[in-house]
């Protein structure tokens, strides 16, 4: 997909600009992951393609365009089905990477 430069000078895709201009949720158009959190105890990541890193203190998920790093303690992957990963535990921070 052809990338464009937006007003802020950042590179954005055609889908990004469509979703922004038509006010459509980005995860519906741009292949972004849909992330939901319940406090700091549970996080569900929809659109998870796999696990990149699994350690005691953090889990890194591949969501296609982004990587989501969930840090915390007692982290448990409660389920991982149909592209949706549910992680339970004491979440301290979430980091995103390209």
């Amino acid at each position: 997909m052809k990338n464009r430069i937006n007003r802020a000078g950042r590179r954005e895709s055609f889908a990004d600009s469509i979703s922004r201009s038509l006010d459509i949720p980005a995860d519906a158009v741009c292949n972004f992951a849909h992330i939901e959190m319940s406090g700091n105890r549970e996080i569900s990541v929809e659109g998870c393609l796999g696990v990149l890193e699994y350690a005691e203190k953090h889990i890194t998920l591949n969501t296609g365009r982004l990587t989501v790093k969930i840090c915390g303690c007692n982290l448990t992957v409660s389920s991982m089905q149909n592209g949706m990963a549910v992680i339970k535990g004491e979440i301290t921070c979430i980091e995103f990477g390209n």
């Binding site: 696990v51 448990t76 992957v77 409660s78």
Partner: protein, 386 residues
């Protein structure tokens, strides 16, 4: 969550641990192969997870390609329990019999209740419905409720309305009894006199209807006329009525009980115990079950009587005996008899004065009382023609 746990338990699940190799690759391969891993934990490169039986059989490929060694930590669930007990043939047979019995028995009536009755007894209503087919052990579907209600109304004319509701294994018979119309045209009472029922001295004399024949202070004998049912009119003609009134008199009652040296009684010579087991519609006697004292015990759950119970039967054969009494006991017995006789004699009578004597074991009492001595006595009237 509880439901999911129940489903997992029914399907059976394996707790596994995987060590060595690449945990991330193992998880991704599992995901690609459709292996459902739940409660996945990772600590120091060791993965602990749960998976169902079918998925566990496919896990070898993922483990081999990620260099992980998989070990089973535990197996839980119904399939494992069934497999463990598969050599016990009685268990599946028992379960099957239990299911079949439950299915068959659930569609039958095991309890009949009657509500709303007062004049007509419950037993009478139940016996009528038993004749019409609503009884214990009958299939609920086979009861024609509409026809049964109409037939029951014919057999129970005292009922104004009745209804049968079958709820589960209970048939509830709701009834409303009809109220009899009171008789308004009461027949004329037969003419009668009021006579003395005992000897005594009149204290109060209040005639309500009829003619006063005695005065207060008069002494009367038993059978003397107190209030006459004959009334003389102003034209010297005579009319008859039912004499009514309130006549109290001072009377004397003498009660005496004698002390006995011997007393006759009965003792238990032989006692036999037996019983009947009740199960559904069957009564299984454990011995000769006729006569005797019976006590039924039924199994109740949440105040619902189940068709399972036991009747305890006790049969006693009695033998006559004669027992000699000591003097003290004889006097005590005489006093007890005296007390019982007094309570019977003076019911509704006011006692004014009592004189008690104990004479050689005999208990004697003289009671001066106030009591209603009026007693109705029908008149014999003979009509003379001409």
């Amino acid at each position: 969550m509880l439901f999911i746990k129940l489903l997992k338990y029914l399907r059976g699940y394996v707790t596994l641990t995987a060590t060595g190799g690449f945990p991330e690759r193992f998880i991704n391969l599992c995901k690609r192969c459709g292996i459902e891993l739940s409660e996945l934990r990772c600590s120091s490169g060791e993965i602990t997870a749960k998976t169902d039986l079918v998925s566990y059989k496919k896990i070898r490929y993922a483990a081999k390609n990620s260099g992980m060694r998989v070990r089973i930590l535990g197996k839980k669930g119904l399939p494992f329990i069934l497999k463990r007990n598969s050599h016990r043939i009685g268990v599946p047979i028992g379960v099957a019999v239990c299911i079949v019995l439950t299915v068959i028995l659930a569609g039958r009536i095991w309890r009949v209740e009657v509500t709303g009755n007062s004049a007509v007894s419950q037993a009478e209503i139940i016996s009528v419905f038993e004749k019409l087919g609503v009884r214990k052990g009958v299939a609920s579907d086979s009861v024609d409720i509409g026809r049964t209600e109409i037939e029951a109304m014919r057999h129970l004319p005292e009922m104004a309305w009745l209804n049968v509701n079958i709820s589960g294994s209970t048939a509830v018979i709701e009834v409303r009894e009809s109220v009899e119309r009171p008789e308004t045209d009461a027949p004329d009472p037969a003419p009668s006199n009021l006579v003395a029922s005992r000897d005594g001295q009149i204290v109060t004399l209040r005639p309500f209807s009829g003619t006063r024949e005695q005065k207060v202070g008069n002494s009367v004998l038993k059978g003397d006329l107190l209030i006459s049912g004959i009334t003389v009119n102003k034209d010297q003609s005579v009319s008859f009525c039912k004499a009514e009134g309130y006549v109290t008199a001072r009377t004397v009652h003498n009660i005496e009980t004698q002390a006995k040296s011997k007393v006759n009684g009965k003792i238990i010579a032989d006692e036999r115990k037996t019983g009947i087991i009740h199960f559904l519609v069957f009564d299984i006697p454990l011995g000769r079950a006729s006569g005797g004292f019976r006590q039924r015990f039924s199994l109740n759950i949440n105040s619902v009587e189940l068709p399972v119970g036991f009747t305890f039967i006790r049969k006693e054969s009695l033998r006559k005996t004669e027992t000699a009494l000591s003097k003290d006991r004889a006097v005590l017995l005489a006093e007890l008899e005296f007390s019982a006789a007094c309570s019977e004699e003076f019911r509704g009578i006011e006692i004014e004065r009592v004189i008690l004597r104990n004479d050689n074991g005999a208990v004697k009492g003289e009671f001066t009382c106030l009591e209603n001595i009026g007693e109705e006595k029908l008149m014999e009237i003979e009509e003379i023609s001409g």
